[in-house]
Amino acid sequence: MQDENWPLWEVFIRSKAGLAHRHAGSIHAADAQMAIDHARDVYTRRSEGVSIWVVRSADLVASDPADSEAFFEPAADKIYRHPTFYEIPDGVENL
């Protein structure tokens, strides 16, 4: 039977309103509702969350760490994208 074992879900929790959901870990569950219920019991026993997202682990697509150097390299030499690149003369304020 293909679904003999409950599939794996990744769990994301918003710790309070105003903050983004953040990866908390994973959980096994037969369906989405059970994944949310289990995630509540496993990851929020001490009021760590106000909202939970779950997504089937198999549906997540990630960048490849083996390529990460080349993949993220284009940003490395563009230091002019940071405000600290620019020199502001003394006397200029509110910039």
Binding site: D3, N5, G25, S26, A30, M34, L60, P65, A66
Partner: protein, 329 residues
């Protein structure tokens, strides 16, 4: 997400070819620079195996650890103590799940790990093969066993493997509650009637030495230590952690007015450490081999719970399948 593509095992020659000296050196350099290793990063097979073994054993210990405590759930002396103990046992289940989840990022499956536990192939901490004979044992477990666990686990929060380190951060926060509630039970008993105090002493007498054994074999006999230290999975040796535990715990016992059951225990002012007596390693070996007081019972109970829960897992699958069918229709 982390398990994809990791299941296929490379043939032996292939693995060796992939683990060129250059790659191993680059990996070690990352570890030495205190970089965290994440699931999809390249890692030596032995590093992966070591972590799977350690994390899954740790998870099994949390799951089996529910049994000695669960033994007193229905007989806790008050509603407050009962509510607290339920919360603690639930935490142990939670810890098991965080850890299984961390181990799964290394490409092993939950089913494999659970199966290894049920068949007795996998090990778990020797401490949970001792019985909880009185209510005071629940106090002693929280105070000593969880205290020893914290000593072991706080350095693991800085372990080189990211998912394990993150799981340990959560666990350590929660263990602190466990240890304090245990000490609180011991304190109530120690300040109670002479019979209650004797109960606390009896629990300390029985749990002290097994707690010291939790740190594992002494450094000269520890076969995995050096490599684990180099990989920064481990930060301190078994004996260093054991010494720290003794140093912080003996004054707590004195505060309780209880006697640590070790005739050789004495404070060495020069070093600032307590010197303690010889551990009975034969007992430790026997418990690990499966011959402790409760090994068979623990495994039987876990197997029974797993078997009796089979219909629940099956029903949930059937329900999920039916719901999917309805949505598709």
């Amino acid at each position: 997400m982390y398990t994809q593509g990791l299941d296929q095992k490379a043939g032996k020659g292939e693995a060796q070819a992939a683990e060129s000296a250059e790659r191993l050196a680059a990996f070690q350099a990352r570890v030495d620079a205190e970089e965290k290793i994440e699931p999809k990063d390249w890692m030596p097979e032995a590093y992966r195996r070591t972590l799977v073994r350690q994390i899954s054993q740790h998870a099994h210990s949390e799951i089996i650890g529910m049994q000695p405590e669960g033994n007193w759930l229905t007989r806790a002396p008050s509603l407050k103590r009962k509510a607290i103990l339920i919360a603690k046992v639930q935490d142990e289940a939670g810890h098991g799940h965080y850890l299984y989840s961390a181990a799964e990022t290394l490409g092993t499956s939950r089913e494999e790990m659970v199966d290894d536990l049920l068949t007795g192939k996998a090990k778990y901490s020797s401490i949970f093969n001792y019985p909880t004979l009185s209510w005071a044992d629940i106090g002693a477990i929280g105070w000593l066993v969880d205290g020893a666990a914290i000593m072991n686990q706080v350095p693991l929060c800085r372990c080189s493997y990211g998912p394990y380190a993150r799981a340990m951060v959560r666990i350590c926060k929660e263990e602190s509650f466990h240890q304090r509630q245990g000490f609180d039970i011991m304190l109530s008993l120690a300040r109670g009637t002479p019979e209650q105090k004797a109960m606390a002493q009896d629990a300390l007498d029985r749990w002290w030495w097994p707690s010291l054994m939790m740190f594992g074999p002494s450094d000269k006999d520890s076969k995995h230590s050096a490599q684990s230290m180099a990989w920064k999975i481990k930060r301190f040796s078994n004996d260093e952690l054991r010494q720290k535990f003794v140093d912080v715990t003996v004054p707590q016992a004195e505060f309780l007015g209880l006697r640590v059951p070790d005739d050789d225990l004495e404070y060495d002012a020069a070093s600032g450490h307590y010197r303690y007596g010889e551990i009975d390693w034969e007992e430790f070996i026997q418990v690990l081999k499966g011959n402790g007081p409760c090994n068979r019972q623990r495994l039987e109970t876990r197997n029974r719970a797993h078997a009796e829960g089979a219909w629940v897992r099956e029903a949930a699958r059937a329900y999920a399948t039916k719901q999917r069918g309805r949505r598709a229709a």
